[in-house]
Every structure is written in structure tokens, then in C-alpha cells.
Symmetry: C2
Subunit: 424 residues, 2 copies
């Protein structure tokens, strides 16, 4: 009988209890024998009466109990989760965590503690919920040099963008719907501004590229500036608008970022709707691959946690270790804004002869050439015009927009979005 201690008994912790009860026979067969959740750390025991587990309010009852060999951390937040995990690992307990913040911010400390304690640290549930992407990157795809990771790793923003695309909503309406459905929190900042996605990308990129990427290395732009018009125009041009978490290595330099971008509608990520998540990647041996599923929710997250518990239990019973920290290399970051790619720009211009020539010249002066120019609608006296560019770096586009903003004929820059995922 292997004993498990739970740190936290919120949505995910309760989900872990439920799924373990529901599929106990199968889980124990794969884990090589019986499992029992011996104790759960909670703040307010009264809120959890009736749950089939012994409750405690003292962390030491879980961390210092020598009978508890697997600690499942599902409390979230950096502290005290980080300290508790360090303690458990130091005492030689296996730790399974769903905590993206702690793994992204304190991954190297946690792995060092696991090394000292000769224990295992698992964190499948910290990224993309029920999708087994961490194991895939650490082990199944170990033979690949990964060159690109493109993720839709935030369900809230993908739900909002899907509603805007499929139902014609504006951002504010779609956000309100997401809140009503429980997909977005009352304060949606971490999701909408891309910070949640940046943490998950830091974890994915650290494994994929074997270098410590931290959230502060990930420039982040949210989706609040996306309008119904941008989504409609993008679709007319054959693109979907998605909040991408992207990391790419070229010539030893890593580019990472979270931003809304246009993806060709035939790209596999363009078919990822609603609150689903997906991670698309490119390896030099496997080629293109994509992993798709539920990125959040009590039971999908419990599925990932219990998959890790199975691994931890097998190691405790039969020997073996999980792949430890994989950040072998120093991080060489690519200078910001230097990657050539295509861009989408929506400008509000005076509707008279010569204006387009002025605009084209401003782009041309920066070496940016245009592939598509489409006048879409009139905005009062002004014309709304969409431009797609050839490959150009962000700094060139910034410079061109700087010059354009000085022209009397340019009313406003409606939006600027990058284009990603085009082949060849």
C-alpha cells in the first residue's frame, strides 16, 4: 500500500479523489499495487466535511509523515507551495504538482532538491491540463532536436477568440460570456494579458530546448486589442486569429513570446476551438506533431496528476527514476524583433488619390514589401485598409508605423498582428 498526501483540496484536489475512486482498479494495476490518499492539507476542514480523506491544517502532518511517500501539490501559487515541495523532495518523497507558477519560477530549485533527496518531481498537470505533453517532450520525443513549439495553452482566451470568430462577438461580450460560463475569472488579467500562457510556455520551452526559460524571458501581449473586424478580415484572407505561445530555435538562439497571431486556416492549430488547448511542435526526426485536449478543469487535470502518480508509484515499487532537470545549456536569447515573418496591418487612411502611394513608400523605405492591400470599409470619411506584408522583422514594421503615424493622411493604426505557421 502506497500512501499519498494531498496539499490542497480545491477543485483539482477533489477531482483527484474522485477520479482515483472512479477508476481505482485500473489505476492500481498500472501503478503496480494499491494506492491510498492518507491525508489532505486544507485551510478550513469544515468546508470539506464528508470527503473520503483524513483532513489536517498542519503541513507537517503530510510532509513529515514517513508513511506518505508521494506528495501531490494542488494548492497553486508560488508560496507556500514551493517551500512545501522543497521539504517533501528533501525528505525523499516523490512530488507530483499541477502548479505552473511554482514550476516556472522555481523549477531549478525544485529539481535540485529532488536530486539531493534522490526523489522524483513530476509536473504534467502544470501545462495544458489533461494533455500529456511534458512526458512527450521529456521522454517519448527525446530523440528529436525540437525547432519549434507553438501552443494554444490558455483555454480562456481561446474560448473568447472562438466566440468572436464563430458567433461574431466583440471582445468585451465574449469575455463576459466566458466569465458567465466559468471559463474566465472575475479578474481575467492573467489569462487575457497572456501571463498564464507565458508561464506555461516557459515550462515547455525549458524542456524542448534544454535551457532554463523563465516567464520574464517571454515578451507577452494579450488579446484585448483584437476586434471583430480583425477576426473577420483575417478569415476572409484565409487565417484564424489565435493567442500563440511560441518558442523557436534558430542557429542556437531562442525566440520566445506570447502574442495573438494570424494562422493559416489549414494549420492544425486553427481547428482548435472553444476552451481546448493544443501544442504543435516540430522535431527534426518526428516532423510535425500536435497534442490536443482539455487544458483545464478538475478531471482533465486529475487525469494528468494521476498519470504522474502511476509513474511515481512504479518507481517507488520497482526502482527507476524520472528524467530529471533537462536545462543543460545556457540560454541564448535572440535579439528581440529580428525574426523575419509576415505581418497583418489594419490602417485607417484618408480616402483620396496618392495616400496609398505614401503608405507604400513608408513601408518600402524600411524594406518592407506588401503582398496584399484590401480596402475593407469606410469609417466615417476615412477608409479602413488591410495590408499583408512579405517577410519583415518586427523592428522594420515598428519603424514603418512610426513614419506612418507622422503622415497627415493616416488616421490611425487599427491593429498590427504577426502571421505565424505558414509553410515554406
Amino acid at each position: 500500500m502506497l500512501k499519498i498526501g494531498l496539499l490542497g483540496l480545491g477543485t483539482v484536489g477533489t477531482g483527484v479523489l474522485e477520479v482515483l475512486e472512479q477508476n481505482r482498479a485500473k489505476i492500481e494495476r498500472r501503478a503496480g499495487g494499491p494506492l491510498r490518499v492518507a491525508r489532505a492539507l486544507v485551510r478550513d476542514p469544515a468546508r470539506h466535511s464528508g470527503k473520503p480523506v483524513e483532513l489536517t491544517t498542519r503541513a507537517a502532518d503530510v510532509l513529515e509523515d514517513p508513511d506518505i511517500q508521494i506528495v501531490v501539490e494542488v494548492m497553486g501559487g508560488l508560496e507556500p507551495a514551493r517551500s512545501y515541495m522543497l521539504e517533501a523532495l528533501g525528505r525523499g518523497k516523490a512530488v507530483v504538482t499541477a502548479n505552473k507558477e511554482a514550476v516556472a519560477e522555481a523549477g531549478s530549485e525544485l529539481f535540485a532538491a529532488a536530486e539531493r533527496g534522490r526523489s522524483d518531481l513530476f509536473f504534467e498537470a502544470s501545462v495544458a491540463g489533461g494533455i500529456p505533453i511534458i512526458h512527450a517532450l521529456k521522454e517519448s520525443l527525446a530523440a528529436n532536436r525540437i525547432t519549434e513549439v507553438l501552443g494554444i495553452v490558455n483555454g480562456t482566451t481561446n474560448y473568447i477568440l472562438s466566440q468572436m470568430s464563430l458567433k461574431g462577438r466583440e471582445f468585451a461580450e465574449a469575455l463576459a460570456e466566458a466569465q458567465a460560463k466559468g471559463y474566465a475569472e472575475a479578474d481575467p488579467t492573467a489569462d487575457v494579458e497572456g501571463h498564464d500562457a507565458a508561464r506555461k510556455l516557459a515550462i515547455l520551452a525549458s524542456i524542448a530546448f534544454e535551457a532554463r526559460v523563465k516567464p520574464e524571458h517571454v515578451p507577452t501581449q494579450g488579446i484585448a486589442g483584437i476586434t471583430q473586424r480583425d477576426i473577420r478580415y483575417a478569415r476572409e484572407l484565409g487565417y484564424a486569429v489565435k493567442l500563440l505561445a511560441l518558442a523557436r530555435e534558430e542557429e542556437g538562439e531562442l525566440e520566445a513570446g506570447v502574442y495573438p497571431a494570424l494562422l493559416p486556416s489549414e494549420h492544425p492549430l486553427s481547428a482548435v476551438h472553444d476552451a481546448f488547448n493544443a501544442i504543435f511542435l516540430r522535431g527534426d526526426a518526428c516532423g510535425e506533431a500536435m497534442f490536443y485536449g482539455r487544458g483545464a478543469g478538475a478531471h482533465p487535470t486529475a487525469s494528468a496528476v494521476l498519470g504522474d502518480v502511476v509513474d511515481a508509484a512504479r518507481h517507488l515499487r520497482m526502482g527507476g527514476r524520472a528524467v530529471a532537470c533537462t536545462c543543460y545549456h545556457p540560454l541564448h536569447r535572440k535579439a528581440r524583433g529580428t525574426t523575419p515573418r509576415r505581418h497583418y496591418l489594419r490602417l485607417i487612411l484618408e480616402d483620396r488619390p496618392g495616400v496609398l502611394a505614401q503608405v507604400a513608400r513608408a513601408f518600402g523605405d524600411q524594406g518592407v514589401s506588401l503582398t496584399t492591400v484590401l480596402q475593407k470599409a469606410m469609417v466615417g470619411e476615412l477608409a479602413e485598409v488591410v495590408f499583408l506584408t512579405h517577410l519583415a522583422s518586427d523592428v522594420r514594421i515598428e519603424a514603418a508605423l512610426g513614419a506612418l503615424s507622422k503622415l497627415a493622411s493616416v488616421g490611425a493604426v487599427g491593429n498590427w498582428l504577426r502571421i505565424e505557421g505558414e509553410r515554406g
Copy 2:
């Protein structure tokens, strides 16, 4: 230094050597130390001169060498691959195989030998090439009761159907193109008739449903009967036509089959084009998930083989065992043709008043009601009419078609395809 013996040095074996050379540092870090391919069994050494490996024509030089601890079987076919693997496992060597035929036909024997030898059997590459679906089903998703597996697991037929859909080709033309591109063999029977997919489904279903499913348990229908018209009409109705490998459990009974079916165009599998593979599944904890990638080819397959080699090497170095045979339950097969689902029928009918009433009555007599009736085109004097039904079992449709074939007003049954993947 762990020594590897290769059985076979064709496309996949050569791919394994290439990928190991290319990414040796990364692979060895994950594997916990150095790896060396010590020897390869080949039929004709002259054909392999210059390859960076010692060659032998005697299987015993690989199987009986005590220094070789991992045997990689990439020769394909049931025999002698099966006997060689039994021998290696019996001697306590870990075996990594890419051989769907041997695993599908002789899986239980191979696992029994692994049990006796206290050795590991890995077969990630036997299904869906570079996509790590076997590990996902055995370990990462171990906490789930899987209720449905829907796969596109044959790249040849998916390429053919994609060409028919995207380029307007007829089957014969698309097949010829697939042969010219090397996606289809000179004798394409195993792919086109669905036998290759049935073997892969047998492996997937055995793991997903924990019961021994063999290829002979999988009724199989190929794609040679699909016409350009069917694909076009399906698309007009909002569906894609795909060759599905399907297994589904309901009330303890398993239904399995390989057949072409209509999938709603918003289903994630509908966006799987060209020679790509994907496995969509439903688990009671994780919900919907999909794994997408290259299902064949030297390097994608080598990616899977070397992922398994990493696992095998870690177990040999650090202890631990892979999840062994998971076929715990007897197989209860659902009576054929009893599952209710929707259907697509294309009939060639006389174009005169009263005929539609006769046809509707024949369906109605079997309790089959229609949701859609669309007259598409004239075929000479006759009218081509497409029908979509409400939920009905295959046996009801068969009976209705039997009755219809006796009507003078029915010229022919153009096609009958099942509809899968609809929600709710």
C-alpha cells in the same frame, strides 16, 4: 556503454542509425549514458557497405551476444521477427519493435516471454509512427476509462482521400499519385482495403480497453468504393470522408471496425490531411484528446524507436520496468451491426412522382427515419439522390437496402457510408 543490436537495416533501421548519430548528445543525456549500435542483422551485407555499424547475416550474433542488452527489431513481418524477439526477451534483453504485425498477432506470447525474462517489450513505433500514442494510453492516461478511440492510422488512404477532397481526383487517379509519391506500394491492398489500419487498431484497442483485440476481431472495409461524388456531397452537407479505425466500449461490450465514414467538418480529425495520422480518444477523466503527426517514414519511426530505447536504457541503468501486458479482461464483443448511428446513402432512382414515397416507406418499414433528402444530379434518365438518416443500426439499413433493391424504381445503391463523430 549500453549496446544495441539491430534486427534489420532497411528504411527504418537506417533511420535509427541516422537519428542516433544526429542527436546523440541529447539522446544519451536522456538515456542516462552512452549508447552504441554494436551490430546489425542484414540479409545482404554488400547492400549496406559504408554504414557505420558492424554487419552480420547470423541472427545469433545479435541474439546470443551477452553484451547486447537492447534489441531493436525493424525487419517487419511476422516471421522470423516473432521468433527472434521471443529469443531475445527470453534471454533478458529489452526489445524495442516497430512491427505492427508481430505485436498485433503475437502480442500475448511476446509479453509472456518478457515476463519470464524479466525484460521490457516496447512497441511505440508499431502504431502511428512518430506519434507517442502507446505510451499515452499505457501510462500518461492510465487514470482514464477510455470509452472511444477513433483513429486515422493509415497515411496512404488518408493521402488518397485528401487528394480526392482537395484536388477533385477520382480514387484511381489519387491512388496512382500516391504510388508515384512513394506513399502507396505497388500492391496497395493492405493499405487500401484497411488491413494495415485493422492491425494498428487491434494494438490500440487492446491497450485502451484492457482486453486482447486481434486483427480478426476487426471487421474491415476499404476505400476503393468511395467516389468523387460521395466526397463532394459529403462536403456540401458539412462532412469529411475519412478511413476510420474505431473502437468503442458501451456497457462492457466492445465494438471495433475499420471503415470509411463521414465526420463532421468541425471534428478535429477532419482537419487531418495528406499522409498525416491522428488518434482521437475520449476518456472519462481527460475528456476529448487527440494526438497528431507523421504515421510513417524513416525518421518519424526512428523517433518512436529511439524514445523507447531511452526508456529501455533508463530501466537497465536505474532499475524500473515498463508497464507489461495490459489485457486483463476477457473480450466481450458487441454483436455486429447493432450500434445505432446515422448513415449516408446515395441511391440512383427513377425520376418520377411516387418513387421517393416508395423509398421512404422501405426505410420506414425498418424503423429508419430520414433527416435529409437531396436530389443531386441526373445519371442518364435516373436521378441521384442522397439520404441522411436518424440513428439506426447497420442491420436495419441492410434490411432497408435489401427491400429497396427489389423495387423496379431503384436503379442502384450508389454508396452507403456510416456517420461518426457527431456530438450529442
